[in-house]
Point group: C2
Chain length 450, copies 2
């Protein structure tokens, strides 16, 4: 702890990052704009596009999608922003390669279905682009390794755009962790507990609900995301929970995940939803979903913390990441918005409202940019994650969430699938850094730079 | 669900229990008092003693302990209650055998250190006594089997006095489960998250805190309980969490635990506490504690529910069992005292205060006996657990928590220890009913009888 705090005092993120960075494909230029290409401008890509268009340091050069409806919506967003119309590529699933051919694009933002992420990231890095990719980068362990080796070979960074790392309360708690408020960390929890039934099924016209359709007859995420619930059983969406936890515990920087085990419950929620919305005779009522309604995963770290992750997307329930950060001095949980710090909380053995603590330890980044972020998606955190990516590109430095984070967090999915298939076997966690975790430093959000 | 509800309508607990009960060692007698012996009258035994003395249907015949201080305190309790002085046995660790020799004792209440429970339960059943034993009945799988076979052979029931099954909110939720409010159950959570540092260490004179002593130099639970944290790593105290969950999911009655896995965090809390209270030079500062500060266990059932248990007794934190009951229709959690039931909760995707629901579904037992229980320990639940035991003895029937429950819940401890030793191996869960779980019926708290 002491070491890290001293380190924060004496070093800025950017200077340190530069010193450990491999060579890059393009040269430094003062205040040149970051020239962005968007691969995938569905609803999520449009969020990023809208944020990018607000920035003075970004030029949107090209957008690419396979659906004219999404392109039309995106061009509307560009027009509303009063910006120049970008090149439009709508040329089938491999159309993105045309975008990558442009030498005047520095970086790409990928917001496509999960199953396209690895291929597109690999192609983009090989085309010497910085890559910002939506969550889930690597659906198999082999894909994870391909991303690492390609990033190392090309020198091009991959940042997975995990936004929850930038949630205001999460960053305040990270700040508290770094100031030793919780003492030595012992146990952490997170997850993705979000009733996605009306994301997974809709009427084919509107994105949320109104029907029991998915796949070709669905719209937006239902077109591709739902099939994963048919084919796979595991923690399909671990990164919102594990990203913040990994940053608090310095994973890949002095600490690493060592082992993992997952259990899955029965799968009832999606079938029930189809019956409820579409009736017993709806053709989708015959489908068997592999994805258990609640998948629970335990992870151990080399520093002997335990981590609990929960994936719960098929049942009626309020949204909750379910964070818990517990150390030798105290504990924070987001479900009850409460905290307890020994010797400091008002009453012994009693929760206190976390708000005062979260305000007091508000992260410097939020203090500085809270107003800029105010309009952005997901309570402002979308602003910060795109900002970190753009600032990294401008500085030609490694992003604060790097390729090792991207694959380490994503690898939880295939590992949990295998653990469940093997009837609850504990699996060793791959070290994607090949030993570099022992000496790497945590550069995530050390100050108010980005 | 339908089957069970019909069943409740048409049958009383007592009549059904009698019909499936093996033969007993003593005959039915109208309003004869239950003649009780107390083995162990430390602080926990004194709670039970105090409750028993309040009852008109109980006669306390004998008490037994190895410490004069505890006996003196107990005799004070008897005198305050204005009851006749019982026989007092203070004759070393095997003195309880003298108590068991008395033919005028129907039943014993055992409240001794965990390591004595099995031996005392076996001896008591062999002496043809009904046995009510404090939690943890069986510290090894072999001990669990001995308890089962001895109960079957002697025909004498063993009830583990798990009180949290009778917590008011827990019973209301059980009532809701049985009325199908949650739909089909999918995932449940519980645990024992209780900062026991001032139970595990004291000054040798007072029971809670004030020093860093345990073992011979400690007092009350610190005399024996703390040593388990030195020697063992596992979920040492699973029954408060698992008991209610087992009753809600009909474990050993149409459902069973099939497998289990446990992970353990680092062990820092107890050492830190010794340093804080006793200083770095305190002799106990050299002790290595095996018990991880947070032990997390996952269990799967044959009906494909998943269960999560947490054991967290060494760190500063507010008390929480951490219940979660989740089904296809909704979810209840006790941490945020909230519930969500699809189509019934006021706002979609939003928690609502559980209070209205808990009031509406208040269990018939609490409605009837809430006033009687008001003064008893642990918010009244101690009244109900002793009541269930006494009423079972009076009716010469199997208690609603029976020997199979006692060992199934207790077996989580040795299984979790083995799982952790084997680096997170998933273990098969023994079937202590030898197949009878498939046809047994759940008789726990079916109505307002006991």
């Amino acid at each position: 702890m002491t070491t890290r705090r001293d380190f924060i005092k004496t070093t800025t993120a950017a200077s340190l990052a530069a010193s450990i960075l491999p060579g890059f494909g393009f040269s430094k230029e003062g205040d040149q704009k970051v020239r962005l290409g968007f691969i995938g401008v569905g609803l999520r890509g449009q969020n990023h596009l809208e944020q990018a268009l607000l920035r003075k340091d970004v030029e949107v050069v090209a957008i690419c999608d396979v659906q004219q409806r999404m392109i039309d919506m995106s061009l509307g967003i560009v027009a509303t922003a009063g910006k120049q119309k970008p090149q439009v590529i709508n040329d089938g699933p491999n159309g993105y390669k045309k975008l990558l051919e442009r030498n005047d694009i520095d970086a790409v933002v990928i917001s496509t279905p999960w199953e396209w992420h690895t291929k597109m990231c690999l192609d983009a890095m090989n085309a010497k682009k910085y890559v910002g990719c939506e969550v889930i980068t690597g659906m198999t362990i082999d894909e994870c390794w391909q991303l690492v080796t390609t990033s190392e070979k090309t020198g091009m960074p991959l940042m997975m755009l995990e936004n929850v790392c930038y949630r205001r309360d999460v960053m305040a708690v990270l700040n508290m962790v770094r100031q030793n408020i919780f003492g030595e960390l012992v146990h952490l929890q997170g997850g993705y507990q979000h009733d996605l039934r009306e994301v997974k099924f809709n009427d084919g016209l509107t994105p949320y609900g109104g029907g029991a359709e998915f796949g070709e007859k669905g719209f937006s995420e239902a077109q591709w995301r739902t099939q994963h619930s048919v084919d796979r059983n595991g923690d399909l969406y671990p990164t919102h929970g594990i990203g913040p936890i990994a940053m608090m515990t310095n994973i890949n920087r002095g600490n690493r995940f060592t082992k993992l085990v997952s259990y899955s419950s029965k799968a009832k929620g999606l079938h029930n939803h189809i019956i409820k919305v579409g009736g017993e005779n709806h053709p989708n009522a015959k489908i068997k979903f592999k994805l258990g309604d609640v998948v629970t995963t335990m992870i151990e770290t080399s520093n002997q913390e335990t981590i609990l992750l929960q994936h719960d997307t098929n049942l009626p329930r309020p949204y909750s990441i379910g964070f818990r950060v517990q150390g030798t001095n105290g504990i924070w949980m987001d479900l009850n918005k409460s905290i307890y710090i020994e010797g400091q909380s008002k009453q012994a053995h009693r929760w206190e409202d976390a708000k005062e603590w979260l305000d007091k330890y508000d992260h410097p980044l939020w203090k500085k940019y809270g107003n800029d972020a105010a309009g952005a998606g997901h309570g402002g955190m979308d602003w910060f994650v795109l900002n970190a990516f753009i600032e990294s590109v401008k500085r030609k430095t490694t992003p604060p969430q790097d390729v090792y984070d991207a694959v380490t967090w994503s690898a939880i999915t295939p590992l949990s699938e295998t653990s469940i298939k093997q009837n609850g076997a504990t699996l060793e966690f791959p070290d994607f850094t090949n030993g570099k975790w022992q000496t790497r430093k945590n550069l995530f959000a050390l100050d108010d730079t980005y």
